[in-house]
Subunit: 335 residues, 2 copies
């Protein structure tokens, strides 16, 4: 079988993780990564054997820094079947023309608007919608985390109304520019937040209202989820549906915070200490006055990584069955 | 008029603030404060002229540290009309016998159970219930903050269902023992949290479900409030009801976080930088799909202080009209 040729445009938090996850699969390979600056991540990419591409006007500075440049971004794109655009939010949109000109498929991340790709993706929810598509957007870490639980619960019990408070980490662990250090930031102040509408790009018609704050933490997001369901059910019914989800992990056993979840990921030997699954405290799953409540934590740096792999597989029609793609991705990554 | 004689048992975060607020009033005065250890707060109390009392077995260590001891806690209690118990949570309960024996009135804080006093107090909600009472509990900072908005909105529009996420500061600014430093802690994991039932001790029969987390911040709590109301109304209607509340302050004008609220309090010249009012982002007040949403921040160290003053006034029957007491307390404190 010829492997799908995957290029990574933007080799930061998401890009480097997608590259490594792609290389673990049998049906796809990395043909190059693009980076604009010769930092430690660029050196690491080269050391791993990923051909390093850059912008035409950056070749000189890359070579001066000792990076062997494989070519320009345009050349990388020409050589690929599909590019995963992991450039910063709102930058990816400027690359669309390049991809269209080269006639290759492209995946954007959740920082871009739904309209850019026309297809917003979560493997468990709408894999089949992405089959053969040229352009797909893998939704953000928070939206991915929400779709993974809302979609199966909606299918099983019908979600009449979802009310969710998103408590967001305000910077990634490697980020020294952003805050707050010691404050709670309602963001946006104007309610509701954009996360609800973003969920609707994947699960059309679901009634979901979200509020969000930014917090002085770098580790994970945390969601408080309140659902009114159409069908009567117990907390145990909900727990057994969530238990069936391969990308939902129950936490307990002394795990009382996002910090202990990150410790667990390291103890599991996960690359970069990543936690690809939603972490739901199954003890928190409660029916109270007829409504469902639970807490889940989301690792912002890594939960979208398996979703990107599945998106590639769907767009390249390497597998027509979403559940089979999810199982394959999980098996190769070790989920 | 003879002033009500007030003793403060426990001179920490809350006790020292209540003492200062009482001294600003015309109808009550501090006759002593009790402290178990000779730390900087004890020295400050003495410097301010508050007679310092202590436990019988601590007199020696106090005097060794240069504190002039006015007498034992028993003697302080004998000399008072009402004691405000500001000892740490679950310690106050052990003092009840002492107060009963001395035949004086006592106020506990929200760390104690409702049953200890039998009357849980929020001035705006149930001042009249505390008139002449011997024992009253001023509810916690979070419950006080919730009662201040739920009570008037319930009176005006009827609260059909309240769903609230409490994002709690996990330590006070002077606290070097507690965490987390960099994590989100769902607490309690088992839902719903105890805050809802605590609100019901002040507003009986209200339907309120709360979830809570602890956060790596010391400044203030933040509440996401979602209400279903009985009567149809607009965001503007809600805003005008909240605007009438003397202990609710609207924030905006570049205030995007709890940190900026604390800066405002300092700029206002407030003692210790305290913010006695609920801080509601009026821009956040939204009706969305028929439900009300808004954000408010609560200064955990100080929002209960004016409530303690009003509780004294009610219990001592210095004023029978709650609104008049609130106005008097506010005027003297500068709210």
């Amino acid at each position: 079988m010829t492997k799908a040729k995957v290029a990574i445009n933007g080799y930061g938090t998401i890009g480097k993780r997608v590259a490594d996850a792609v290389m673990l699969q049998d049906d796809m390979e990395i043909i190059g990564i693009a980076k604009t600056r010769p930092n430690f991540e660029t050196v690491m990419a080269q050391d791993k054997g990923y051909p390093v591409y850059t912008l035409a006007d950056r070749v000189g500075s890359m070579e001066e820094a000792g990076i062997e440049v494989a070519g320009t971004v345009e050349e990388m794109v020409e050589a690929a079947d599909v590019v995963v655009d992991c450039t910063p939010g709102k930058v990816g949109v400027t690359n669309k023309e390049l991809y269209e000109k080269a006639g290759i498929k492209a995946i954007w991340q959740g920082g871009e608007a739904h309209e850019l790709a026309g297809c917003s993706f979560n493997a468990e929810t709408n894999y089949e919608e992405a089959l053969g598509k040229d352009f797909v957007r893998v939704v953000s870490c928070n939206t991915t985390g929400l779709c993974r639980v809302l979609s199966p619960l909606n299918n099983e019990f019908g979600v009449k109304k979802a009310r969710i408070t998103l408590m967001r980490r305000s910077a990634d662990p490697n980020d020294i520019k952003h805050g707050p250090i010691n404050a709670i930031v309602p963001n946006p102040i104007k309610l509701p937040s954009h996360h609800g509408p973003d969920v609707k790009t994947v699960i059309p018609g679901i009634d979901v209202a979200t509020t969000a704050v930014k917090l002085p933490t770098t580790l994970m997001h945390l969601h408080t989820i309140n659902l009114e369901l159409e069908k009567e059910c117990t907390a145990e019914d909900v727990e057994s549906i969530l238990a069936e989800q391969s990308r939902v992990r129950f936490v307990g056993q002394g795990i009382t915070s996002t910090a202990e979840i990150m410790e667990l990921a390291k103890d599991l030997g996960r690359p970069r200490g990543d936690m690809w699954e939603n972490c739901v405290w199954n003890e928190s799953i409660t029916m109270y006055e007829g409504e469902l409540y639970f807490f889940q934590a989301i690792h912002q740096e890594s939960d979208v990584i398996p979703e990107n792999v599945d998106a590639i597989r769907a767009m390249m029609e390497l597998e027509s069955d979403g559940q089979k793609s999810i199982a394959e991705t999980n098996a190769k990554m070790g989920i």
